[in-house]
């Protein structure tokens, strides 16, 4: 037997370890805080400039603490400013983007879910090869498809229309949505599908009643991915549409580059912020599901 007594009120080793821990934490938070400031600084500059008067910006410089306050630029940017010859602000292109992004997101997500369901639960000879081919689309840069798309859009009469862009984004997005959903559905036990088949449910009933109710995590991930991707997409928007059909990304660039006289920093800042709101909202409401969905394992 051993009798142990603690004759020191404070253990010097424990104390040193505590101190080291505190120092370490401080260093980590300082480091993280520093980078957070660097990342947030541009946002601060843009937000500040959207509320400053243009003369004040030109006088004090772009990066400076605001000394004036005005909401005029927001109104200008939204409904009056002239972009590419039309003077109705960026609202039309904002609506264009919404009209394009919402259906394209819903359709590509739905098709991806159906594809994933078939490729994981109704396998057929060659389905793995087909899946591999679809996944290749993930690695294909968009510009490769530019010319074929221009040709096809012309062929089916959807050139310079928002419907044309919806079509392009649905097809371009399919490899991503299929990949996401298929990999998620693989973790749904096959026994569930078998049990449902014995229970008399068919292909669609199993999809809607069994698979879809298990899908919210992956559907949220897919929707966020597709929405932000399509909203922020520029190349197809600027190549396949022009004038009043352009999505907001193309309009923002037109607004920045199309100026002869003094650069309207205030209006440009407002326009950029308006253009960033929808994806920000999507992240804000779906962000926690996004992280959860990406890391979620099998459904038990």
């Amino acid at each position: 037997m051993v009798d142990a007594t603690l004759d020191l009120a404070v253990d010097p080793h424990a104390r040193a370890a505590g101190l080291r821990h505190a120092l370490g934490r401080t260093a980590i938070y300082a480091f993280l805080g520093f980078f957070a400031i660097i990342y947030l600084l541009p946002l601060f500059v843009v937000v500040a400039n959207s509320f400053r008067d243009l003369p004040e910006i030109t006088q004090n410089g772009l990066i400076a603490l605001p000394r004036s306050f005005s909401l005029k630029a927001w109104d200008q940017a939204w409904s009056h400013y002239c972009v590419a010859g039309t003077c109705e602000g960026i609202q039309r292109s904002f609506y264009n983007s919404l009209i394009m992004t919402i259906p394209a997101t819903i359709i590509s997500t739905l098709l991806g879910a159906i594809n994933g369901y078939v490729l994981s639960k109704w396998r057929f000879p060659g389905s793995e090869t087909l899946f591999a081919c679809m996944t290749l689309g993930v690695f294909m840069p968009g510009q490769i498809a530019l010319l074929p798309w221009a040709f096809i859009l012309g062929l089916i009469g959807l050139s310079n229309t928002i419907y044309g862009l919806i079509f392009v984004h649905v097809i371009q997005g399919l490899s991503f949505t299929t990949l996401f959903c298929r990999n998620y559905y693989v973790s749904i036990p096959d026994d569930l599908i078998k049990a449902a088949r014995i229970d008399g449910a068919g292909f669609w009933r199993i999809f809607w009643k069994i698979v879809v109710p298990l899908s919210p995590p992956i559907l949220i991930v897919t929707v966020i991915w597709q929405f932000t991707g399509i909203w922020n997409e520029y190349l197809f928007g600027v190549v396949f549409t022009g004038g009043r059909q352009q999505p907001i990304t193309a309009a923002l660039v037109a607004l920045q580059t199309g100026q002869m006289n003094a650069h309207p920093y205030d209006i440009a800042s407002c326009a950029v912020l308006i253009g960033a709101i929808p994806p920000l909202l999507i992240y804000f409401f779906g962000g926690k599901y996004f992280v959860r969905g990406l890391t979620q394992g099998a459904i038990k």
């Binding site: 036990p189 026994d191 569930l192 078998k194 049990a195 449902a196 088949r197 014995i198 229970d199 008399g200 449910a201 068919g202 009933r205 009643k209 069994i210 109710p213 298990l214 459904i299 038990k300």
Partner: protein, 374 residues
């Protein structure tokens, strides 16, 4: 009520033959257990009966109707899965009504069925819970409830108890037995647990490497295993195999085996073999419970008794009985003894063998050598 008839059934995945000509039948109300080690093809066979796997060759008939190309939903079967396969987003009640809804059963009829089955399985209180809120045993009950509500022709069970802990497994086993007695449905039950098969089934099909080794009533499978595989698989601890030679002792047929000392001992057979292998070599199969401590007084009471001595290598008390590893020749055998007369470690045990229950096998074909009447 329903019968199941399977004839010359084959299943091939590419060049791999998983089932090699299965013949099986279940009469109305019968409980047939498919038992075998993992990979023997028993689950594939069940999936084919359910219609979840296609047939490569052969016939499956339910009530005489060929169902080879009938979809699972049209076979009028119900299945309980090893994983339970309860729909996670639905309550227990919804899980049970899903099949009836798919088939367009009227709402009132659904409610009546749920009420009947919930009472039968004592799950009334669980009906509004989701599978995630149920324990393993409760999920098991709901899974059985889902199968029962539809009143199918055929019940299929795929290792339904193997995800439960040991205690619960024994309880649920009894429940299933009671349930079958009450409902009386034709049932096909897949398991790798020979005790489950023995306790539940009216007939057992022992499978190995894609074919049925023996299809018979439990006691017959246990007492007269068709070959050494069945003999070794059914029973725990397994049957002991002792190599020997057929001989005559006192004018009666006997098996001569070599003891640890090197001397040959002739054990008289209680019943004469019907065939005699060309070289006379046989394998004597003795179950552990047919070994006991020899007592000269027993000889007069018990017919077909043989005696030899064997050194005791290991003694394992389990409480109710004591297992002992003994050495005969260079072979280790296991015996089950009453704790009161259990062998002691290092003892040279006078060992009695109940030859009336011993089996003979052909070492070449591994098949049982039939024995005639005593």
């Amino acid at each position: 009520m329903a019968t199941l008839t399977i004839s010359r059934l084959f299943k091939r995945f590419g060049s791999v033959e998983v089932l090699k000509g299965i013949d099986l039948e279940a009469k109305t109300g019968e409980f047939v257990a498919l038992v075998g080690p993992s990979g023997c093809g028993k689950s594939t066979l069940l999936a084919m009966i359910a219609g979840l796997e296609g047939v490569s060759e052969g016939e499956i008939r339910i009530d005489g109707t060929l169902v080879n190309s009938v979809a699972p939903k049209d076979r009028d079967i119900a299945m309980v899965f090893q994983s339970y396969a309860l729909y996670p987003t639905m309550t227990a009640r919804q899980n049970m009504t899903f099949g009836m809804e798919s088939r367009g059963v009227a709402k009132a009829e659904q409610d009546a069925a749920i009420k009947r089955v919930a009472a039968l399985l004592q799950i009334e209180a669980l009906l509004n819970r989701k599978p995630g809120q149920l324990s393993g045993g409760q999920r098991q009950r709901v899974a059985m409830g889902r199968a029962l509500v539809r009143d199918p022709k055929l019940f299929l069970f795929d290792e339904p108890l193997s995800n439960l802990d040991a205690k619960l497994r024994v309880d649920m086993r009894t429940e299933i037995k009671k349930l079958h007695l009450r409902v009386g449905k034709t049932t096909i039950y897949v398991t790798h647990d020979q005790i489950e098969a023995m306790t539940l089934a009216s007939r057992i099909a022992v499978m190995h490497q894609g074919s049925i080794q023996q299809f018979d009533e439990p006691q017959a499978v246990y007492d007269r295993p068709a070959n050494m595989f069945v003999a070794g698989f059914m029973g725990s601890p397994s049957m002991n195999f002792i190599p020997g030679e057929l001989a005559k002792a006192d004018g009666r047929p006997a098996v001569a085996i070599e003891t640890t000392g090197g001397e040959k001992v002739a054990l008289p057979l209680a019943r004469p073999p019907q065939t005699w292998p060309a070289n006379g070599k046989v394998v004597l199969g003795v179950r552990p419970e047919h070994l006991f401590r020899y007592d000269p007084g027993l000889k007069s009471q018990k017919a077909g008794l043989a005696m030899l001595t064997a050194p005791v290598e290991v003694v394992e008390p389990t409480g109710a009985e004591t297992h002992a590893v003994l050495k005969i020749g260079d072979k280790e055998i296991v015996g089950r003894f009453d704790p009161d007369e259990a062998p002691r470690l290092g003892e040279l045990l006078p060992l009695g063998i109940d030859m009336a229950h011993a089996c003979l096998f052909d070492p070449e074909s591994q098949a049982l050598i039939r024995q005639g009447a005593a």
